[in-house]
C-alpha cells in the first residue's frame, strides 16, 4: 500500500465485531515511521455491544478526503481504493519532477 501521501487516518471500529478485520489490518499496514513523518493516526475503539459500522477516514496530501465504510469491504478492496488516488498523486509528483 502506498502510504506516502496520507496525512490523516481516522479509524473507528468495534474489535469484537467480525467486520473490524479490515480496519485493524489497515492499521497494521501503516509503516513504523509514519507517525514520526507527520501522519496523524487516530483510532477509536467502540465498546463490545455497539453495532456501529467500522469506518475509515483518510486525508491525502492534496486535501482530498476519503470516507470508507468498512462493513462490506475486504482489506484488498480498501487498499485498492486508497492506492487509486495515491497513484495519481505519485504520477503528478513524478511529472513535476520533485
Amino acid at each position: 500500500m502506498i502510504t506516502r501521501f496520507l496525512t490523516d487516518v481516522r479509524v473507528k471500529f468495534n474489535p469484537f465485531s467480525k467486520r473490524a478485520k479490515p480496519a485493524r489490518l489497515f492499521l497494521s499496514l501503516i509503516p513504523p515511521n509514519a507517525r514520526v513523518d507527520g501522519m496523524k493516526i487516530e483510532t477509536k475503539m467502540l465498546p463490545r455491544t455497539s453495532k456501529e459500522p467500522a469506518t475509515l477516514d483518510v486525508k491525502f496530501k492534496d486535501g482530498k478526503e476519503m470516507k470508507l465504510e468498512l462493513e462490506k469491504m475486504r482489506i484488498t478492496e480498501v487498499m485498492e481504493e486508497v492506492d487509486r488516488h495515491s497513484r495519481v498523486l505519485a504520477r503528478k509528483e513524478e511529472l513535476t519532477g520533485n
Partner: protein, 339 residues
C-alpha cells in the same frame, strides 16, 4: 590338528536365572550340539506392553518436531496457566520500542512488588508477568483446544514404566496416534474436537492481525492497574507515570511504541472482557481482599436491613393493635358516662 571346538554363543550366554535348570552334563563344550533348553514356565508368560515413546512425549497428531506444533503446545500451556491475559494489537512496533516498553513495564511492576512486600502482602508476581508477541492463527487454534477439548475418563497412565517386566499385561498402553486414550493437547482427539467449526469462542473475532499478550499468573488487579497505566493509559483512571518520577517513560522510543499498541480486550478466568470490562477489573480496589471486604460490608448491610424489615412488620402490628386498643378504651370511656 587340535579338535575344533564348536562354540555356540547362545549356550555361552550368561543366564542367571536358569543355570540351575541346565544339567551339568550338557555343559561339555565339545558335546554341545544344538540343544536349546526348553523355555521355562516363567519365560512363556505374555510379554508386557511396551511403550514406543518416552512417557513425557505421547504421540502427537501433527509432526512434533515442527516449530508450529511446539508453539501450539506452548500457547496451550500459556492459556491454561494464566488466568488473566490482556490482548494487544501491535502495528509495526520496532525492536527498540519493544525493548523499551518491556523495560518500563518491568520497572513499574517491580515497584508494585516492592510496595506489596513492604505491606506484607503475598503475591509478588512481577517477574512472571510477560509481554509477548504471538502467532495469531496458532494461538487461535490453541485457544479452541483449551476451551473445547475437555478430556474425561482414564488416560494412559504414563507413570507406569511399560518396559518394566512387573507391569501387568493388562496395562492400558498404546502406540497409535488414532487411539482415544491420548488426551493431551496435541492428540488426534484434541485436534478433532477443536476443528469442529460449529463451536465458537467469544475471542474468535479478535484473532486477526498482529497480536501481543500480557500474561499474568494470577488475577491481581493491582498489577493489572500498573500494566494498564503503562501500556494503555487513560486519564483519570489509569494515569501514566509522571514525568518527574519516571523520566524514562517519556523517551521517544517508549512513546512511539505506545502509540502503536492498542488494547483490544482481556480474558479473565475464561471470560472475555472488552476494554471497558478490563478497566473495571483493573479498577477493583485492593484486589481480592478488597472485594471480600466489600462483600462482607454488603452482607452486613443486608442483615441490618433484614432485621429492620422483620422488626418493622411486628412493630407496625403492635402499633395497629395498640391503636385499636386505645380507640376501644376511648369508646368505652365515652360510652360509660352515657349509661
Amino acid at each position: 590338528m587340535p579338535p575344533r571346538i564348536r562354540l555356540q554363543p547362545r549356550v555361552l550366554r550368561l543366564r542367571t536365572a536358569h543355570t540351575s535348570n541346565i544339567p551339568l552334563g550338557a555343559t561339555y563344550a565339545s558335546l554341545a550340539t544344538a540343544t536349546t533348553p526348553a523355555p521355562s514356565v516363567d519365560q512363556i508368560r505374555a510379554v508386557p506392553p511396551v511403550l514406543r515413546y518416552p512417557p513425557t512425549q505421547p504421540p502427537s497428531h501433527k509432526p512434533p518436531e515442527v516449530r508450529k506444533t511446539q508453539l501450539h503446545r506452548t500457547y496451550q500451556s500459556v492459556l491454561k496457566s494464566s488466568p488473566l491475559i490482556l490482548l494487544f494489537q501491535h502495528n509495526n512496533v520496532k525492536a527498540v520500542e519493544w525493548m523499551s516498553l518491556r523495560r518500563e513495564l518491568a520497572t513499574a511492576l517491580q515497584k508494585v512488588d516492592a510496595e506489596r512486600a513492604k505491606n506484607g502482602q503475598s503475591g509478588l508476581i512481577a517477574d512472571q508477568i510477560k509481554f509477548q508477541v504471538i502467532t495469531t492463527s496458532i494461538f487461535a487454534s490453541a485457544l479452541r483446544v483449551v476451551e473445547f477439548f475437555k478430556p474425561e475418563g482414564s488416560a494412559v497412565d504414563h507413570a507406569q514404566e511399560a518396559t518394566d517386566p512387573r507391569t501387568p499385561t493388562s496395562a492400558q498402553t498404546s502406540n497409535e496416534v488414532e487411539d482415544e486414550v491420548f488426551q493431551h493437547g496435541l492428540s488426534r482427539r484434541a485436534w478433532e474436537v477443536a476443528s469442529n467449526k460449529k463451536l465458537k469462542s467469544e475471542l474468535e473475532p479478535l484473532f486477526a492481525g498482529p497480536l501481543a499478550l500480557v500474561t499474568f499468573p494470577a488475577v491481581s488487579p493491582q498489577h493489572l492497574k500498573t500494566v494498564l497505566s503503562i501500556l494503555a493509559p487513560v486519564k483519570g483512571r489509569f494515569d501514566a507515570p509522571k514525568r518527574r518520577t519516571t523520566p524514562s517513560y517519556y523517551e521517544p522510543e517508549v512513546q512511539l511504541g505506545l502509540q502503536k499498541l492498542m488494547l483490544l480486550g482481556a480474558r479473565v478466568e475464561g471470560k472475555v472482557f472488552d476494554t471497558e470490562g478490563t478497566h473495571w477489573v483493573g479498577g477493583i480496589e485492593g484486589g481480592i481482599d478488597g472485594l471480600r471486604a466489600q462483600l462482607v460490608h454488603m452482607l452486613q448491610g443486608v442483615s441490618g436491613s433484614l432485621t429492620g424489615a422483620l422488626e418493622g412488620a411486628s412493630r407496625s402490628l403492635y402499633f395497629t393493635v395498640e391503636g385499636r386498643r386505645m380507640d376501644m378504651e376511648e369508646k368505652e370511656k365515652g360510652d360509660a358516662p352515657a349509661e
